[in-house]
Amino acid sequence: MSTEEIDLVSAAPVPEEPALEENDRVYVATQWQLMWWKFRRHKLAMISAVVVILSYLVAILCEFIAPYDPNTRLAAFTYAPPQRIHVRDESGRFVAPFVYALGREQDPRTLRWTYKEDRTTRYPLKLFAKGDAYKLWGLWETDRHLLGIEAPAGSKVAFSLLGRDRLGRDMISRVIYGTRVSMSIGLVGVALSLTLGIVLGGFSGYYGGFVDNVIQRTIEFIRSMPTIPLWMALAAAVPPGWPPLRVYFAITVILSLISWTGMARVVRGRFLSLREEDFVMAARLSGSNELRVILRHMVPSFTSHIIASITLSIPGMILSETSLSFLGLGLRPPVVSWGVLLQEAQNVRSVALAPWLLLPGLAVVIAILSFNFLGDGLRDAADPYGR
């Protein structure tokens, strides 16, 4: 349906009409409905939305979805390669998915372990398999995991879909746990910088004049600083003795202290352009007070733009956390985030030995891209009367 020719003034709904024609739906649709229709046409953004929602589901349910606890060390499987899941047995018949046991040999010269499937023993994959015990959200104690194998204790097998690291920890479990920290730091950080950005940007745009000048100069100053060295310096000042949760919040605050500027610019720009609109003038003339003009009339008309720019600023947050943790200045090892995981890949020799150490990087790339596409789609949709 085309939205270009809609004339809003003459588009008053016709109440007597019982069933609306397909084309007439546009006239009575709310702004959010129009946005949704427009957003739906953006294929890449739709796919990205699904990816983002799935990753947050993984983040929420990570204990259940990960096959192992991220800190379980299996010394017999250091640097074990990703495991193949078989669906055919020796004779080529299709059977339920299973994995073979894993045998290993040490090269006497290089002392390097090589792994080989031991085709004599099979372990079927199980849904809701028993594994490491955990407490979901600190409430329910259970030992069920979404996918896994149930092997008797001491047997030579580990379910490692994406391989294992230098201490024999399961990579996919670690990436899944890292999703929780990395994806949430994006949200929390953006929430903080949004608050700062809306308050300061709102002041700046609504009052103008001297306040505007001071805030704008501050923003320009912050934007002209190279951020990573500054972040590094601030993050290095976080005392090493702090508990993980405190470090997490300290890092988030440090990240948002610098990144609120982008948000403030968007908010200010919107305020400036809306301040002159007729409907704002009308609201003021009919006696609304300042707060009501802002909250009831101005804010709703730019919420959609704010949502779009939030989405576009989350990947920057995730990336910054990853970079800082990667350098060893952000979150620290007992905490599992994508950046912390990538620290293991700093040594090119261990990457050459176990390329799957780079997989957390793939998670970062997917997260960044899907947030960007989602944000692009939302930004286009936020303006339903646009092109």
């Binding site: 100069r217 320009e220 100053f221 934007r223 002209s224 600083m225 190279p226 951020t227 990573i228 060295p229 500054l230 590094m232 310096a233 601030l234 290095a236 000042a237 005392p239 990336l319 990853t322 970079s323 990667f326 350098l327 060893g328 200045l329 990538l342 890949a345 700093q346 090119v348 020799r349 990457v351 050459a352 390329p355 780079l358 990087g361 970062v364 790339v365 997917i366 960044i368 891209l369 960007n372």
Partner: protein, 332 residues
């Protein structure tokens, strides 16, 4: 024009002052007095304590005196080229930073040039041949550059070079040139090594600029003056390059202001991964060992360089675009 430049330089002064305050705060951030920790370190390592040296340092930096005096002392030193004393290396900071800063500038500037040389023609091609193969390939690489963090790209490149070509891509010099004095052969060696970090650093910037260039040019190409030019019978090449490209380049020049901080920022972490002899690795080391004069000086000098770079880009922009020159404002 001279008036504009003068005003723009005057505007940079408060920024520089603010930068110096931030750098000073960074120096003061770690708990305790760095001289105390320096003495503790010396004691722990069993080195001989030179009481005179310590007193000279305490006196020089006004330790124990109020903050603003310490700041003024430090600032006064900086203006005379004395950046303080590196507690870890036990030499003046000035001896450590200049060569690394110079290499950082070379790297950032080289990357900027590389980004432009690649992004402008590709952006123009991608806009004039919208929805063609070139456009799709450019868009694809654009998204890739957008999604892959610099340091990850560096890691992957290093891994591929190491595992499949058995080569090390780190560093900016061949082993025989690392400690060699500067000369033409060393410069040639630098140029030979520079392209890998430039490629790594330039990817994301190029991706962004191609998209900007494409969008700008697409907007321009549909304007009536282009149709007029075409109707007058100009060749297609001339129609595109003579006017719309020049207009589309305008927002391009103005982005230098934020491209530079990003490049310096990105080069810090990339040079840690590729162990380049630029500011990154030394800054990281100074921060982890709390060698604060060194760390603070790096942050200070990097920011100053960025401010100067932005200043130059603003002047360049005013030179290219008369509208800005005559309005006199440097606001973007």
């Amino acid at each position: 024009m001279a008036k504009f430049i003068l005003r723009r330089i005057l505007m940079a002064v408060p920024t520089l002052l603010a930068v110096s305050v931030v750098a000073f705060i960074i120096i003061q951030l770690p708990p305790g007095d760095y001289l105390t920790s320096y003495i503790a370190n010396l004691r722990a390592s069993g080195d001989a304590l030179d009481q005179q040296e310590i007193e000279a340092l305490a006196d020089r930096y006004g330790l124990g005196q109020p903050m603003h005096i310490q700041y003024l002392r430090w600032m006064g030193g900086v203006l005379q080229g004395d950046f303080g004393y590196s507690m870890e290396w036990r030499v003046p900071v000035g001896d450590l930073i200049w060569e690394r800063l110079a290499l950082t500038v070379v790297l950032s500037f080289g990357t900027l040039m590389f980004t432009w040389l690649l992004a402008i023609p590709v952006g123009v091609l991608s806009a004039t041949r919208q929805y063609s193969l070139v456009d799709y390939v450019a868009t694809f690489f654009g998204f890739l550059g957008l999604g892959i963090p610099d340091f990850l790209l560096a890691l992957v490149l290093m891994w591929i070079a190491f595992a499949y070509f058995n080569q090390s891509v780190g560093g900016l010099f061949s082993p025989e040139f690392v400690d060699a004095p500067w000369g033409w052969s060393k410069v040639a060696d630098l140029v030979k090594h520079l392209w890998i970090p430039m490629l790594v650093l330039g990817t994301s910037g190029t991706a962004g600029l191609i998209r900007t260039m494409r969008a700008n040019l697409l907007d321009e190409l549909h304007k009536p003056y282009v149709t007029t030019a075409r109707a007058k019978g100009l060749t297609e090449k001339r129609v595109v390059w003579k006017y719309p490209v020049r207009v589309a380049l305008n927002p391009f020049v103005s982005t230098v202001g934020w491209t530079l901080p990003q490049l310096v920022s990105g080069s810090t972490i990339v040079s840690v991964v590729l162990s380049l002899p630029t500011t990154g690795p030394l800054l990281l080391r100074a921060l982890t060992s709390q060698d604060m004069y060194l760390a603070g000086s790096f942050v200070f000098m990097l920011s100053v360089l960025t401010v100067i770079g932005t200043l130059l880009s603003d002047i360049l922009l005013a030179w290219v675009d008369p509208r800005i020159r005559f309005e006199g404002g440097a606001s973007r």
